[in-house]
Amino acid sequence: MTEENSAQLWESFRLGNAQALATLFEAYYYALFNYGRKLTGDEELVKDCIQNLFQKLWRRRGGVRPTPVVKAYLFKALRRHLGDETKLLRQHRHLLPAHTDSFEVTYSHEEFLIAQQRDAEQSTRLLAALNRLSKRQREALYLKFFDGFTYERIAEVMSLNTQSVRNLVFNALKAIRKVMLVSLALVITLCT
């Protein structure tokens, strides 16, 4: 869905059109679900948070702001909901130290399809590089390459400024490039 289409649906929803909100729900459900799952790893919690987020939007439709970038708005809202929920869970169960409130994005083998011959080695290297990045770098990379957000939108979702996001991604890619240098050099010589 284009930003323009979703912005139209958003306006229509704010005027009380339930179908418009349902259409947005359908369009972004998997993207939201996968992002939430990346952040917390708890699928049931993510499902509940997405459901609560949309039910709340519907109840408060009269007071909801207009937004030109619905997808980023929804991602940001889900991120906030998940943060609140995990904080609550921790307070109740004392399972984890209270100060670890930032999200942990981890990458797994299943997410990458690497077509090259030495794929196993290359993908192991890539995963190791990705998982050595800082939490924020990992999240920014996820939003950039898995959800196709621009630096500006990532900044909105993560409540950072655009320059910080640019730096996060720049440094992350630099680290990945360094790790991949050996195997990539090989690929390039084979290809040319």
């Binding site: 909100l21 349902a22 259409t23 997410e111 490039r177 050099a185 390039i188």
Partner: protein
Amino acid sequence: MSHAAYSTEDFLADESFQSFVFASDPEAVRFWQRWALQHPAKQGEFDEAVAVLQLLASRQPQPMPEAVKHEELAKLWKTMRPPVAPARARPALRTARAPKRARRWAMALAASAVLLLAGLGLWRRPAPAAAWARYATRPGEHRQVVLPDGSRVVLNASSALRLAPAWQPGQAREVWLAGEAYFNVRHTAPAGLQAVATAPPDVKFVVHAGALDVAVLGTRFNVFSRVGKTRVVLSTGQIQLSHRRAGSLEQVLLRPGELVEYNEAAPRAPLVKRTVKPAFYSAWTEGQLNFDDTSVAEIVALLEDNYGLRITLGNPALARQKLTGSVPSYDLDVLLNAVGKSLDVKVRRQGNRVWFD
């Protein structure tokens, strides 16, 4: 910084360069392809950056059952449209035999009648040179599509809509349909221009369905086209319907409330209009299946088309019985039970095989 001074990392972090590697922006693709040719000295850094980004982009979509989304969406609908109190619910279906017998199950049906429309597809990166944009639905699935001109289409189950990836101004808007869809077409012609027959081709919207071409300016209508049968029903506005045949072109003009059906089994029969209630034919868009003295044979065909079922009638005479009424269409089991109960037969279902005994 000038691109010529770029390091590998600079290429990597450049958003336009990323769009080029992911082919998500045709302009960026053109720009960087040309740039690479003009700057052979940078080829090393350029190729390396492409390789790193391609690694990151080689991502496998995470499988997730469609059922989770539908369940969650149904939950959302329940809070947005709480079920109406079923105190005086009328039977949702009645048979031709016993039209007035009230049935208890009807209350449960009415209570669970929830509008379910599928949304637009998941967001995805558009391929730069895709030959067609294609939208398709699975059995039992509905989907709403917004076309490049802002027109809206609701696709019924097991249907597919195909169109050019971009619509050029000055050209007719054209789509190809297999299955069933409800169109709400935006009027792009000047306000004074209302007659489709005399309008220039560049403001028309044309649906190609089977052997028929449905041309409109801005209207709402339903098109059904499956296994040799094509049916067009107009809700508002005007339709110019053309039948392409070797050596001849037959055209009729439809007014609101008119239906035309074409059957491949009788290709020489002229297109005949009849007046109907258009809401009846578009009820499926609101999660309803409507029957109006509809034979069980037709209902069986409809269920097989829309839900990918194979239905066996224990008693062949059942096929001639007729039903009138409406049932919610989003929950197949509720729907099958309703039909079974009103026919007074047992329904068994195993996957996509169904028996009415």
